[in-house]
Symmetry: C2
Subunit: 433 residues, 2 copies
């Protein structure tokens, strides 16, 4: 994972304002989530284009037209997603053509692709699929390599209109390969934006902001934007400059100040996740890991396994939901459980040691607790014990009192365990960033 | 889980138009997805309230104010999410108070909850957290049981304004328990909407629609709406009527016809998930289960463990990422692996049998395959073998050829395994619905 992201930018960047309009009644009915707006926004953000509004409107000609007219009042780049399909409901290009006082015409390349699609599947093409090959006259046609409806880019009276298909698997590559290069070439150059994200765990958003208050208040370039979610907090430092060197000269002193104050909670940068960071550290240092999971029931191991290459360091582990399984399969002593209960430092510690031993790993992790909704082993919901056994060191244990629902608590327990292992490895001299 | 959902509805239902405004620059930067709009929309849809627009606006006073003014032109119920937190960026309630020409005042109950929150964690409360206890004068305060910022409901000049916190784990229960009952009581009665969802696995959306085409085309009451996502397809049947009996008289014959044609793929109704349905069947019939997971690395067990009560039937299991672990810890024979490879029917079958035996369960499940990005055991990415051993029956095996990315493939393998076990139990005479 690289240390920073940087993108060449337009001099006129400050002028370009974008609005994203998603079209589809299924969005307003809550049947699907508008992930396209997030995707397009993040892509525009990399180009340094400001997005001021997202709008979602249903498959209704009149309301769509109003949304377009309104977007024209406040944006010079309007990106539509959805409504390019074969059915009667799909009316985005029809409305835009009418609004821009032009018409639709068949795109022969698109028509050929549609015919080829049906031929390949030996299925007859139904008549309504022809509609997908119609494009707005004078539009640049954007090829769809993952579906049948082509995209379109139209420039008129100083505004750019871009029409994209709704399915993310069609929209995302089309944006990446057809839209982004066109937008980049339309933006005159001369400036550059560099963005660097710091990722924290184990500190609340409010506390982090309080510790950085003076920095947050007085910064305009670079800007410093904190963001909290899922128990994590990130800080994005964004500099505008004429060269990458100049941008980093702005970012570096702020970055150092932040790390001085709250670096203890820093676990990664940019696209890192807790899991990717831990797996990276394990692979880099050839440290193997095994886990015995009770309340998390495999979620810790599964979370590590989201990262490719993990098989080098994760040999296996156990799910020990049941007390007898803890004793008979894992080898936790009955005395420990009877004396301290299954939700205890002692049990978590033994789970960690035993699974380390059994799987012959460098690190053993034990997770036990009461996820909810009911209490477990007479411990209140949200009580979690994490045990971490590392090589020959005495096992470490951590107690959590989580406040969430069952599955939030399970996820939080996994994240905290990962964070504590990263901390331990750092203490043992392995670099985390 | 109940067999249907029914909600008393307003006679004036057709008049109420809602708009959802999400506030937060992180949405416009594409850092997070607006899942709140989908959640609120689906809830309002159940109440029979039409949503005409979603809007997303950043943490900017002027643009937020414009979004409010515009929403007032086209909606009589305006629901805000986000911008109620402790930081300077959070300005939703400030702007609404100013716009409605009223002011903010401290809510003592909220203040007490905030103080208690910090006390419980033995952490000092920072000053900016006080801001979260401020509410709009004359608002009904909506309690936040999962966070610090209370919600608000204000009625003014025939419009309802509802302010909700941004984090979904706070917003969703607040909507469910604080907002929904209030909205329902504000809607005058006289009509009723009953909605029934059928859930399918193992059949594509296009094929399902084709088999039901004549039903889908000619229905207006009830409406029949198919929806695909994450490998599953659902059909929502929605009837409008003056009584529940009348609504069911409309739904039942359609439901029967659908089940006659595609009932083989039906796994549940309404809020069921594959995991909840399987765990329900296991608990009801006292059937225990254990799993040995390779490519899914604990995800199967973790998915079952999302359902409360699962500890009655899931005693434990293993993650056997590594070949030696499969042999030494689980007891798969080296000969089988050498002859057929770890990605084979034979290995999946042995994993299932061995884990069943080891954990003394009624069902053993084995999952092995090449999740990607690289091939595994010379099998192409997406090749998965599922083994299911049930009591003394010979183990069943299933081969999948998945087309997705690493983590989509892992999830799809888990879902298919769950679906196949549900099918098996049904064949053994246990009722699924």
């Amino acid at each position: 994972m690289g240390l920073f992201l940087s993108i060449k930018l337009n001099g006129g960047e400050m002028k370009m304002k974008a609005e994203i309009i998603a079209v589809g009644s299924e969005l307003l009915l809550g049947q699907i989530t508008n992930t396209n707006a997030r995707f397009i926004s993040s892509q525009l953000s990399e180009l340094g284009i400001n997005v001021y509004y997202h709008t979602v409107v249903g498959d209704n000609a009149q309301r769509l037209l109003k949304a377009v007219e309104q977007a024209e009042q406040r944006a010079d780049l309007i990106i539509f997603s959805g409504g390019l399909g074969p059915t009667k409901d799909d009316l985005t290009k029809e409305i835009i053509a009418q609004h821009l006082q032009t018409k639709l015409q068949q795109d022969d390349a698109a028509m050929e692709m549609i015919e080829a699609f049906f031929e390949k599947r030996s299925r007859p093409m139904t008549e309504n699929n022809r509609k997908q090959a119609l494009v707005i006259k004078d539009a640049e046609v954007l090829a769809n390599h993952h579906g049948m409806a082509p995209g379109m880019l139209i420039e008129k009276e100083g505004r750019i209109y871009i029409l994209l298909p709704g399915p993310p698997k069609e929209l995302e590559p089309m944006f990446q390969y057809e839209v982004k290069p066109r937008l980049a070439s339309k933006l005159s150059d001369g400036g550059m934006i560099v963005s660097h994200v710091l990722r924290f765990y184990g500190i609340g958003e409010a506390e982090l902001e309080e510790r950085l208050q003076d920095l947050l208040e007085h910064q305009t370039n670079p800007t410093i934007a904190p963001l909290a979610g899922d128990g994590e907090v990130t800080i994005r430092i964004t500099a505008k400059a004429t060269s990458e060197e100049q941008a980093w000269a702005l970012i570096t002193p702020i970055r150092e100040k932040i790390i001085q104050r709250v670096g203890n909670y820093l676990y990664g940068v940019n696209d890192d996740s807790l899991a990717s960071k831990l797996v990276e550290m394990l692979i880099e240092n050839k440290i193997t890991i095994a886990a015995a999971e009770s309340l998390t029931a495999g979620l810790f191991q599964s979370e590590l396994a989201t990262i490719p290459g993990v098989s080098e360091v994760l040999y296996g582990g156990m799910v020990t939901y049941n007390e007898e399984v803890k004793i008979n399969q894992l080898g936790v002593s009955r005395e420990v459980i009877e004396k301290y209960s299954v939700v205890s430092a002692e049990c978590a510690s033994e789970m960690a040691s035993k699974v380390k031993e059994k799987f012959n790993a460098d690190i053993g992790v034990g997770l036990t607790g009461a996820a909810g909704p009911g209490e477990h082993a007479e411990r209140p919901v949200g009580t979690v014990w994490i045990g971490i056994a590392y090589k020959n060191l005495p096992p470490l244990t951590y107690e959590l009192h989580l406040q969430g629902m069952r599955n939030t608590n399970r996820i939080r327990a996994v994240k905290t365990a990962i964070y504590r292992i990263i901390q331990l490895l750092e203490k043992e001299g392995y670099r985390k960033i």
